[in-house]
């Protein structure tokens, strides 16, 4: 089992540690609801050092990333971040990731911890270009500072003027004197920053940020999931997988058909034009209970899909879920049933954005 550089810090802070993608990670420090609301109302700090960082460098680095990535990296300017996927020829998702463009010959890919090895194999398998693939995961740590107070808090730690750091861009800057890469990105639906650095830098930054900012709470993976869920951000293995395409997941915005070629393009274009047979939608429970991942969804006696993620939403109090539902049962306000243990409960199809995002764009 791997540990992040902050492992002992989490234990000292009273975190409940769990195995996540081969890493011992903090699930929760005090309460998932408290940490969730701290991010919505003030600010929260996450250790996300389990995430993978893969560097593509060389004269043809852009050709390599372009072949694999669904979104258009040619249209990116240096210092921009772009969200998208690696897909298989049939449109299934190998991984979803962020691409950081330094220049045409230098890209940083930030990938899911569980998929690092798979992604590396996938990239290397298709690397017929003059480009090097470097796994920087083992010597990179990452923390995420998220919430409406994130900028105020981070500004006290850096000489860089954060007003100049726009949504989905990045900059190299000093944080408490440590050289870091900082992007205005996140996975919570709130304004915030993701900070990458050496292990020592991130350890010092994480601890100092908490010491110097009383309203800032350490936040675990428990609320990271409830936060991303409420604003309908997908989690690989749930709303996206090798059998769930970005079109089905409603993430067509991250697939650029303006690009002439990338792996999966034909299959995804065909699916988009023909309309997918199923779609990730929101469900609202009309009685008591909580919808959980894997529960089957029914229209009368026919199974028409399954729940991909479900919670009693901490921000809204609603019992809601994202679910992959066959057409035509995916239309708004359709009444369906979900099997919870031995009984059936009534649900209504709705928009999957349960809570409004508050980005600083």
């Amino acid at each position: 089992m791997k540990q992040t550089i902050l492992h002992d810090t989490h234990v000292l802070l009273g975190a409940k540690m769990v195995d996540f993608a081969g890493f011992m990670m903090p699930l929760v420090y005090t309460s998932i609801t408290e940490e969730h609301l701290a991010v919505r109302e003030q600010a929260g700090l996450f250790d996300v050092s389990h995430m993978g960082e893969i560097r593509l460098v060389g004269p043809d680095a852009n050709d390599l990333v372009d072949l694999l990535f669904t979104n258009n990296t040619r249209a990116m300017t240096a210092g921009q971040v772009l969200y998208g996927m690696f897909c298989t020829p049939t449109g299934g998702v190998v991984d979803d990731l962020l691409v950081y463009k330094f220049n045409d010959q230098n890209f940083l890919l930030v990938v899911n911890a569980a998929n690092i090895e798979k992604d590396l194999a996938w990239i290397n398998q298709h690397n017929t270009f003059d480009a090097d693939v470097i796994d920087e995961s083992d010597h990179t740590s990452e923390c995420a500072l998220q919430g409406p107070l994130a900028q105020t808090i981070l500004q006290k730690a850096t000489p860089y003027d954060l007003d100049n750091l726009k949504f989905f861009t990045f900059e190299e800057m000093d944080i408490y004197g440590h050289a870091c890469l900082v992007s205005r990105t996140g996975y919570t639906g709130e304004d915030g920053f993701e900070i990458y650095g050496t292990h020592e830098a991130i350890k010092a930054i994480f601890q100092t940020l908490l010491e110097e900012n009383a309203p800032l709470k350490p936040c675990g993976l428990g609320c990271r999931d409830t936060l991303r869920f409420e604003v309908a951000l997908p989690l690989y293995g749930h709303e996206l997988s090798e059998t769930i395409t970005p079109i089905e997941a409603g993430l067509g915005f991250a697939v650029s058909f303006a690009k002439s070629a990338f792996i999966g393009r034909e299959a995804l274009l065909k699916q988009k034009e023909a309309k997918p047979h199923r779609r990730v939608v929101g469900l609202e429970l009309l009685e008591k209970g909580i919808l959980r991942e894997g529960y089957d969804v029914y229209a009368d006696t026919a199974r028409v899909g399954h729940v991909t993620t479900g919670y009693l939403s901490p921000s809204t109090g609603l019992s809601v879920a994202m679910a992959l539902i066959d057409k035509p049962h995916d239309k708004k306000d359709t009444l369906l049933e979900v099997a919870i243990r031995k009984k059936r409960v009534k649900v209504k199809v709705r928009n999957k954005k349960f809570y409004e995002k508050h980005y600083n764009k």
Binding site: T33, G222, T226, K288, I290, Y311, L312, R341
Partner: protein, 124 residues
């Protein structure tokens, strides 16, 4: 971890207290701590039959759903309905807030339960 001496326990972290010939059933401190914030409980109804070591209710934390197993067999006499609106009471005091009260069917079933010492070992 709080493990009162006067209760019987299951390996699946339920407790039972015998009082006036009835059995009061709840979840242990270890259970509530492992689950985290309890946000919903699905209770049985009065007169339902419960069976030793079989599921009789479901409890949901923010993160996940778990089944609760009955430490003893019997018919449900009273359900602690206060928990439906305030499931967090189980976090606040899991021993004070019993979940169901049942009529004991077979006292010999108590022999299959753990005492506080034995249960403490399960929690290690």
């Amino acid at each position: 971890m709080n493990i009162p001496k006067d209760l019987y326990y299951t390996e699946t972290h339920e407790w039972v207290r015998i009082e006036d010939g009835f059995a009061y059933i709840g979840i242990t401190d270890y259970a509530q701590d492992s689950l985290g914030e309890i946000v919903f409980i699905e209770l049985p109804e009065e007169n339902d039959q419960v069976t030793q070591f079989s599921e009789f209710a479901a409890i949901e934390s923010v993160k996940a759903a778990s089944d609760l197993n009955a430490p003893l067999s019997g018919v449900v006499v009273t359900v602690n309905e206060e928990l439906e609106d305030n499931p967090e009471l189980l976090n606040e005091d899991p021993y004070e807030n019993w979940i169901i009260k049942i009529e004991i069917e077979d006292k010999l079933e108590l022999n299959k339960l753990l005492n506080a010492e034995e249960y403490a070992e399960v929690c290690e």
